[in-house]
């Protein structure tokens, strides 16, 4: 493991809002946010937009350090490196209030940083992060929980903080969508090399990104999705996939010594549980990592049970399982996998 390098592990923030959405505005909600307002939010986080695409359901932005998704009543921001993600909370709440929208639920998740000492405030520790969030959300968001879900690997645990103003009996348990967050480390070196730009190529950004998507087979993970991709100089890759109201997103830090890749997508309780497993296997096969962690939020028992066996054909064995309940988010399951040949 290198002494220092780019931090691939992301911090993820999901904010849900409620309010009077004017019929005249076509239920656009947060999508009415001026781009200048979003720019201000991203400035606070210290990242910028490098590519974007929208469809009738949501807008998807590829950032210099990951992704941003804007739906009418929810925003998801996922950033890596040394970004100060939580600093987006005050401006987002402010701009949403201007649109007549109020914060309902806040969910913050992340794995373990490979280089924790390189993180700026408030990301210096989970405790600092939780204190910061609590100080910056309205006091009526009173149902709160923070927890670190462990695994048998000291370098892999899952940090979760959720807060909501919805009383427990009103949690939208009938919400059909669930989220899957996959973190992969020690990527296969040969496969990771595909995410380095060819020298002298001059193929930047979106053109280089498209080539990487096709070369690595990322476009076969969900053939029905439209992909907005970007290749970074000299290495690194990001993509957002959009398919109806669902997003998927992949981010790659390919350098040896601190290689990392993430895959995140939405599933539905109405899907065939095997579908999500097939998708996850295809995503992991692009990278063939030594270690994988999978966190599911709000999915059925059937889905996370299948996930436990999903990677066996790829030589990855499930090593740990942790499960907990969180306000508004529901059941969060955290599983880790390592190569079966390891003890």
């Amino acid at each position: 493991m290198a002494v220092s390098g780019f931090e691939g592990f992301e911090k993820r923030l999901e904010l849900h809002f409620f309010g009077d959405i004017d019929e005249d505005d076509n239920m656009l909600g947060l999508r009415l946010l001026e781009f200048e307002s979003l720019e201000q939010v991203l400035f606070a986080v210290q990242c910028t937009v490098v590519s974007a695409v929208g469809n009738p359901f949501f807008d998807a932005y590829v950032l210099s350090e990951s992704s941003l998704f804007v739906y009418p009543t929810k925003i998801i921001i996922k950033t890596c490196g040394t970004t100060q993600l939580l600093k987006s909370i005050p401006p987002l709440i402010h701009f949403a209030n201007n649109l007549g929208l109020h914060l309902q639920t806040c969910r913050y998740t992340r794995g373990n940083f490979i280089f924790p000492k390189a993180q700026p405030f408030p990301h210096t520790s989970f405790k600092e992060e939780v204190i910061y969030i609590e100080q910056n959300i309205p006091i009526n968001i009173c149902y709160r929980k923070a927890s670190v879900m462990p695994s048998k690997l000291p370098a892999h645990s899952w940090h979760v903080f959720t807060a909501t103003c919805l009383p427990p009996l009103e949690f939208p348990h009938d919400d059909a969508a669930f989220t899957v967050e996959v973190c992969m480390t020690e990527l296969n070196r040969h496969l990771a090399r595909q995410f380095f730009m060819k020298s002298g190529d001059g193929k930047t950004g979106d053109i280089g990104g498209k080539e990487m998507t096709e070369l690595t087979g990322i476009d076969t993970i969900n053939p029905g999705a439209f992909i907005c991709d970007f290749a970074f100089d000299p290495c690194g890759y990001s993509m957002n996939g959009i398919d109806g109201d669902r997003y998927s997103t992949i981010h790659v830090t390919p350098e040896d010594g601190f290689s990392y890749a993430s895959f995140e997508c939405i599933g539905s309780v109405y899907d065939d549980p095997d579908d999500i497993v097939v998708t996850l296997k295809k995503a992991v096969q692009v990278f063939m990592p030594e270690t994988v962690s999978v966190s599911t939020t709000g999915c059925s028992r059937e889905v996370w049970t299948k996930v436990a066996h999903a990677f066996e054909p790829l030589g990855l064995k499930c090593r740990s399982f942790a499960m907990d309940e969180f306000p508004a988010a529901g059941t969060i399951v955290f599983q880790t996998f390592t190569a079966a040949r390891r003890k």
């Binding site: 999508r31 720019e39 400035f43 910028t48 937009v49 009738p56 998807a60 979106d206 907005c228």
Partner: protein, 132 residues
Amino acid sequence: MGSVLASFFNGPNSAEEDSSSSSLLQTFHSAPRWQLHFDSVKETSKLMVIDFSASWCGPCKLMEPALSAMADKFSDVEFAKLDVDQLPDVAQEFGAQAMPTFVLLKKGKEVDRVVGAKKDELEKKIDKYRCC
């Protein structure tokens, strides 16, 4: 950070731009006027770039300055802007589902397209197809 973003998406001549004032980037609101324009450009050997956008789409707004700059830079290319809600039949005809979608045409036939706010890819493709 703001200036990095601005320089990424703005072209060289974008100092005080009113995107609708560039005569080479026309916005069409009605189907008959669009059809007239399309038919007249079809008769020429000019490259035409249609920007399908929507009022509900943030990424479309992101691309506007870059597109205006390209319209100024590539004066031999016809740029047209269509709102998919105002002209849904045209949008459907061209299969514009994700926004912004840029369709490149020569003599009324599609030669290529770019989907998403992809400034580099769009500029490279316009440069590629604008002559012969």
